[in-house]
Amino acid sequence: MKFLVCISNVPDTTTKITFTPDNKEFNKAGVQFVINPWDEYALTRAIELKEAQGSGSVTVLNVGEADTEPNIRKALAIGADDAIRVNAAPKDAWFVAQQIAHYAKEGGYDVILMGKESIDYNGFQVHGMVGELLGIPTVAPAMKLDMSGNTATLEREIEGGKEIVEVNTPFVASCQQPMCEPRIPNMRGIMTARTKPLKVVEAVGEGAATSVAEYALPPKKQGVKLIPAENAGELIKLLRNEAKVI
């Protein structure tokens, strides 16, 4: 079975977010980029399923410029077999989805996995766009994924519970915890990753459907009002009479 895992290159979760002086762009200076944490679930689960099947392949795909290659190599070190980089700045979800759908179709992949959402732009929308472009089902967000032949059984999170869903290949799933324990690269993986194929291809399709006019940071808190622990009950009165939230 052929797995395609889409990985997004995002600022490390500890990053303090700042913008360029005109507030029009994210300030990348000094920022460490990582594989989107949710995509690590997709990647590890694809590798586990391939290993369980004893055959097949795991390809990672990223839409990004050359500076994303260290993280693509990291995905290869974790255990993907080969990689595709669509050489373009990811302008928005619609642009990215067109690239994924095009190269997924071209490569004839059976299972397309991605993360629940990117932790930078928080779109939570690439999955559905790719599914719709290819005319195949999407399951989002998936907490569990098992395969038996061409049939996948997934647990899909819904508000307040979960649905057990069965779909046949090809399909798209966007992954989240507790699907698996994400793997980290080992020494052997890092050595072999250097020689695994990484194909660079050109972008296709239409441009973006959205753009950002301006970014802003959330308003600062006024400062904390401390209540002595002995008078803890006083807090409840403040929440009712001052903050008016209870």
Binding site: P11, T13, T14, K16, I17, F19, A93, W94, I119, Y121, N122, F124, Q125, V126, H127, G128, M129, E132, P137, T138, V139, A140, R156, E157, I158, E159, G160, G161, K162, E163, I164, V165, E166, V167, P178, A209, T210, S211, V212, A213, E214, Y215, A216, L217, P218, K221, V224, K225, L226, I227, A229, A232, G233, L235, I236, L239, R240, A243, V245, I246
Partner: protein
């Protein structure tokens, strides 16, 4: 040309987040000089749908197909696309929920629309162009996003705008059929399993949240969190390490890699306030922190704080809530 609003229903009731979505849609309609029509998904009743008039909805389209009770991506997408076509809607508003995102992203492609998720304010409308404010960087920032397409789909984040209640107004409920066939239900769930929620309050829908971290020391102490939550009518939540070691279920984990919540009140008990945790909670209106370490970073993001031992403070808070009556 009316604005189409997707309302999610559960056990006959319109979800609170969908009341907000309905109000949002009605206000956009007013700004555009048109009306707002709702289309219902999930288990709905006509009587409750008619009450959407209070949120400013004029008409509700209701497909009485019983299989629409559970979320089915294919069928919901087709139903909403058919409603949008009948109403010639250029603007579709839905909740930024798992259902909203699943359906909204497919609709964006099918209807060739610009999609904005995670939206926190009403749009600025100039000519045919909408600019919407949306959360970005997992709660660490906002982006003003321009939707340039002729059609727009907006997914509204919970608790971002207030649901309006114009008492006495009713919406007209109309039978609607999207002519759904078996093929549209191909991805119907085999089974739906609902969680046992403390006091029946779902975390993503909750107004108040009581959350515990590693400072709670172990699952055997969670009754302290639950007792305060029950007294307040709050949902319970936890930090990531707590769910990683299975003290609490994964669906309670909030933060950058868990769920993002934006309640009116968030009470953090024995949580240090790591940047990844704050990302998931910092759009809460009021944050209370209880931590024995006065240097805990969470105090910098808090409105109220108690420097003290959770095991002593929590029972006092529960008692004080009960005394409020």
């Amino acid at each position: 040309m009316s604005v189409l609003v997707v309302v999610e229903c559960d056990k006959g009731e319109v979800k609170k987040s969908s009341l907000e979505v309905a109000s949002y849609g009605a206000q956009v309609a007013q700004a555009l000089g048109t009306t707002a029509t709702a289309v219902a998904v999930g288990e709905a009743t006509e009587a409750n749908l008619a009450q959407l008039g209070e949120q400013g909805i004029t008409k509700v389209l209701f497909d009485n197909e019983p299989r629409l009770k559970d979320f089915v991506n294919g069928a919901y997408t087709k139903l909403i696309a058919a409603a949008a076509q009948q109403e010639q809607s250029q603007v579709i508003v839905l909740a930024n929920s798992n259902i909203g995102a699943s359906v909204g992203s497919r609709l964006a492609v099918r209807l060739k629309a610009s999609l904005a998720t995670n939206v926190v304010e009403l749009p600025k409308i100039e000519g045919g162009q909408f600019t919407v404010k949306r959360g970005a960087f997992s709660g660490k920032a906002f982006a003003d996003m321009v939707l340039s397409g002729e059609r727009k789909i907006i997914a509204v984040k919970k608790n971002s705008i207030e649901a309006q209640h114009n008492a006495g107004q009713t919406a007209q409920v109309e039978a609607f059929s999207a002519q759904l066939s078996d093929a549209d239900f191909a991805d119907a769930p085999k089974q739906v399993v609902m969680q046992d929620q403390a006091g029946g309050i779902l975390l993503p829908e909750a107004d108040k949240v009581v959350s515990g971290g590693r400072g709670m020391k172990g699952p055997e102490n969670w009754h302290l969190i639950e007792e305060l939550a029950t007294a307040l009518g709050a949902a319970t939540a936890c930090s990531k390490p707590v769910s990683d070691v299975d003290w609490r279920p994964h669906h309670e984990h909030v933060g950058q890699t868990g769920i993002t919540v934006s309640p009116n009140l968030y009470i953090a008990c024995g949580i240090s306030g790591a940047i990844q945790h704050l990302a998931g909670v910092n759009s809460s209106k009021v944050i209370v922190v209880i931590n024995k370490d006065p240097e805990a970073p969470f105090f910098k993001a808090a409105d109220y704080g108690i420097v003290g031992d959770v095991f002593e403070v929590l029972p006092k808070l529960t008692q004080a809530v009960k005394e409020l009556g």
